[in-house]
Amino acid sequence: MEQTLSAKLKSISVGLYYTMPEVILSLGIVAVVVFSFFLRNRKTNVPALLTLGVFIASIAYATLSWTFYRTPVSLFGNMVRADQFSAYFRILADVAAGLTVLMALRSKDLSEKLSSEFYVFLISAVLGSHLLMMSTNLIMVFISLEVLSISSYILAGYKFSRKGAEGSLKYFLFGSAASAIMLYGFSILFGITGTLEFTSATFTNNLSTNQSALVIVSSMMAFAGFLYKIAAAPMHIWAPDVYEGSPMPVIAFLSVVPKLAGIVVLIKLVMAFALTTVQFDWQLVLAIIAMITIGIGNFSALWQNSARRMMAYSSIAQSGFLLIGVVCLTPQSMQALLFYSAVYMASNYAVFIALQAFEKNSIDSIPLFGGVGRSFILISIVLLLALVSLTGIPPTGGFTSKLFMFASLWASYAQTGKTILLWLLVFGLLNTVVSLFYYLKIPYYTFLKTPGSTLPSENTAFENFLAVILVTGILFLFIRPDFLMGWLNTVNFVL
């Protein structure tokens, strides 16, 4: 049905209300760019504060208009859809980006090069992730993924060191290849179904009627792009090099925001396949991918000597745990996933903030952490708690989130009786033991080894403060999980 121009304009203006956080972010980009023209002193913190303001405004809008998103609305000719599910993840992405700005202010990696451009790329990456989380159209997925990716490639190279350049280039090359494969998959899917709106009934119906091997091939290709973004096996190889050469605030950002965005859009796509009658056991495939990801991440992390590389493999393994939520694809597992994402974000940021504090004092490889627990007592304890949370041991939110995740997996198994789910459960839980071994490696050095010659030279009070706040949150989520879960209950899961 053709719409008149005025009707089109009206629907766009309505859409702008729903996408106000994205509008704020776009205006923020412009504001920071324009502002930097008038900036004499490049050392000023004003662009950072402006960026922080943009993220806070975006969070505030999304939180205040929470009930607004209760009924999902398709916007801009079914390009994107606003709902509570994506709104929640958009808030998480904004919080993560805000923390990144705070980290960047004190980062040694960035101190010389920190300029307003950095913040522009940061905001545009967040904008890309927002749109990716909301998109319901394959073209929109591709465009927003590229907005996110290209900004990330640049951010990854912001250390301007040899290793940084290598990491950034690797990230770019692998990323481009993955995007290309994904786009190829999309085009085949478009050819089969005749529509780009992958959440529409036309898409699923046409997939069901035109069953061929091509459907499986093309969907696997489409998955590849997202697996790359979330650093899941076998598309994870870039992670360690990028983590090694990038500035710490950027790593923290990359370990959370693109991952969550990738998971959200993966859920939507998998949901579309789950509704078809295609003879393709995506649950089996995803469960195997999750297992391989958890296994590769954990077992590779065991042998790492650099804290950054270890955290790279840790984030790969965590992707596997996030994938468990996608494998189950029940309302309960979605709630667990939302909870898990929040705890993961807080724990990961706490770890990276602590690592940044240590790196300031030239402690980067794990043996150098020997005995630093004496001189850096507070941040060492905070790091211990954050790592314990990533492992999933009480008394941290990490335990609660793993408990919810595995409970939904058990429930899923009990419902379907698929043995692969049981294997995933057992394998995932046993991997917790493996992960404890490397997560405790740094605390092992900080508390059990005799001190080297390192003494605190740089002031890390700001990092301590940030990390303590995050860890308090993690502990709180253990004691009162109902606080967040009660709120997540109100999330309306129309996927």
Binding site: P394, P395, A414, L430, V433, L436, N489
Partner: protein, 536 residues
């Protein structure tokens, strides 16, 4: 007085919080504070004795507050409670914890390195152990259970002997593997069990008392007693019991899952060895009694001979290892494994005598093993050498010490008049009675266990002969003047333990008044549940 158990758990935790603000230099303050903590806990125990009636087999001093309740839509409501209570089993274990923690606190006075961190971890451990023994909510139990893990890791890893790092990480990985197996079952249980009062919306609960009642399992759920769910060739419930059994057997520890224990004991400082042997091993047995058996009675019955066999294997194999041990502490560690095997045997019999004996053995072994590790500590503090062959004729050099060694060794090998004798006698009687009543344990097993007693006598008497009898002689490197007799502090700890071992050996009724009603109730409930499961 209300909330006695909460006070008991949080007294040491409060001390740990206060400790954070005390200067690390004030070593004496920490040493006195640990006495204050134990003193307050002893007063609370007295109050608990005053408020409970031992003859009841049911739970007392119940404290129940909602922890969290999460509405998960169509799946139902997930509810966890802060739920504490004591029965005869819990009471014995809490009593033991308070007594041992007092002894361990005094023994910790010799710790000189980073005193602040040490005592803070010790107090957290104290609260966690009491919490484990009094929690009646599976999630709460699991929380306290895991809370013991990291303090113990650091206590061994920082204040331990030369190979402490290896020992502590081995301890940690074994224990975590065990607790993961428990977690699998915990999750399966919570999706299968509802509260009896739940109406249209299912209320999933972690309440252990609800889990122990087979009527509360949701129809068609994975652990439903009808055994409809099978994994491999066995029912899901069979696997769940097996997982719990392995998980707790690692903690117990039972052969062949015991290999972390000798290393941890050899490297741990004396007070930590005392806590490890006297309390942490009991957590494993406690878990079987409180969780694995009541929730999966029919699987327990089916696997009873396996449990008994593992028990016998632990008794014999660990005793043989103790015979071969060269290090005094390693010998005592293996003797611990051997004695905990009796607990498994008593449990497997499922007779009232057997269960009573198992609980009594847990209590008695707690006291005796504490004494044994203190003895090893006395020697190590003086010479830093624990090798049995490096000493001979110590009896003439350290006469008072020798008397304590005699008491501890004879108590441990089961001489009548000491608490260990009562416990092992009851277990053997229970196992024999089982052969004639419920046919769970064959007589052969009982005789094998009795043979273990002979082995126990052999390694203790042989050690006495090697180390204490004959002419005085030590290895050249050891300076003779170091071998002074026990000082006042050591005397105080050892004499109080020796007296307790004697009192509980001569007047077993003091504790059996609490333990017997529990055992009766436990055995009745198990068979009642089995009947319900077979004919619902």
């Amino acid at each position: 007085m209300q909330n006695l158990l909460t006070y008991l758990i949080f007294t040491p935790v409060a001390a740990a919080l206060i400790g954070l603000f005390i200067s690390a230099e004030a070593k004496k303050t920490f040493r006195i504070l640990t006495l204050v903590v134990s003193f307050v806990q002893l007063l609370l125990i007295v109050a608990i004795v005053g408020q409970t009636t031992p003859q009841l087999g049911s739970f007392q001093l119940l404290e129940k507050y909602s922890w969290f309740s999460i509405d998960l839509g169509s799946w139902g409501i997930l509810k966890a409670e802060y739920f504490l209570g004591l029965d005869g089993l819990g009471f014995s274990m809490v009593l033991l914890t308070v007594l041992i923690m007092l002894i361990a606190g005094i023994s910790s006075w010799t710790i000189d390195k980073n005193v602040k961190g040490y005592f803070i971890l010790l107090w957290i451990l104290n609260g966690a152990i009491i919490g484990t023994f009094s929690a009646l909510d599976f999630l709460l139990f699991y929380l306290f259970f895991e809370f013991m893990l990291l303090p113990m890791y650091f206590l061994i890893g920082i204040w331990g002997g030369p190979k402490r790092e290896y020992a502590s990480i081995k301890f940690l990985l074994y224990t975590l593997l065990g607790s993961i197996l428990i977690l699998v079952v915990l999750i399966a249980l919570v999706i299968s069990v509802q509260t009896p009062e739940s109406g249209d919306t299912v209320v999933h609960t972690f309440n252990l008392l609800h889990m122990s009642d087979p009527a509360n399992f949701i129809f068609g759920s994975i652990l439903n007693p009808d055994g409809a769910w099978t994994i491999g060739s066995q029912t899901a419930r069979w696997w769940a019991f097996l997982f719990l059994f392995i998980g707790f057997a690692i903690k117990l520890p039972a052969v062949p899952l015991h290999t972390w224990l000798p290393d941890a004991h050899v490297e741990a400082p004396t007070p930590i060895s005392v806590i490890l042997a006297a309390l942490l091993l009991k957590v494993g047995a406690y878990g079987l009694l409180r969780i694995a058996y009541p929730i999966f009675p029919e699987a327990a019955l089916e696997l009873s001979s396996v449990v008994a066999f593992v028990g016998i294997l632990s008794i014999i194999y660990a005793a043989l290892n103790a015979l071969a041990a060269k290090d005094l502490k390693r010998l005592i560690a293996y003797s611990s494994v051997s004695h905990m095997g009796f607990v498994l045997l008593g449990l497997a019999s499922l007779t009232v005598e057997g269960i009573s004996g198992a609980v009594y053995q847990m209590f008695s072994h707690g006291l005796i093993s504490a004494m044994l590790f203190l003895i090893a500590g006395v020697l190590y503090d003086r010479t830093h050498d624990r090798l049995i062959n490096n000493y001979s004729g110590l009896a003439s050099k350290m006469p008072v010490f020798f008397v304590f060694v005699l008491v501890a060794f004879f108590a441990s090998l089961g001489l009548p008049g000491f608490s260990g004798f009562i416990a092992e006698l009851m277990i053997l009687l229970g196992a024999l009675a089982s052969g004639s009543t419920n046919q769970l344990i064959s007589e052969g097993f009982t005789f094998a266990a009795a043979f273990g007693l002979i082995l126990g006598a052999a390694y203790y008497l042989w050690t006495l002969q090697r180390m204490f009898f004959g002419p005085f002689h030590v290895k050249n490197e050891i300076r003779t003047e170091l071998l002074t007799d026990v000082d006042k502090r050591e005397f105080g700890m050892l004499i109080s333990l020796a007296l307790m071992v004697l009192i509980f050996g001569i007047f077993p009724q003091v504790l059996l008044d609490y333990v017997n009603p529990f055992a009766q109730n436990f055995s009745d409930t198990i068979f009642e549940s089995i009947r319900f499961i077979q004919n619902p």
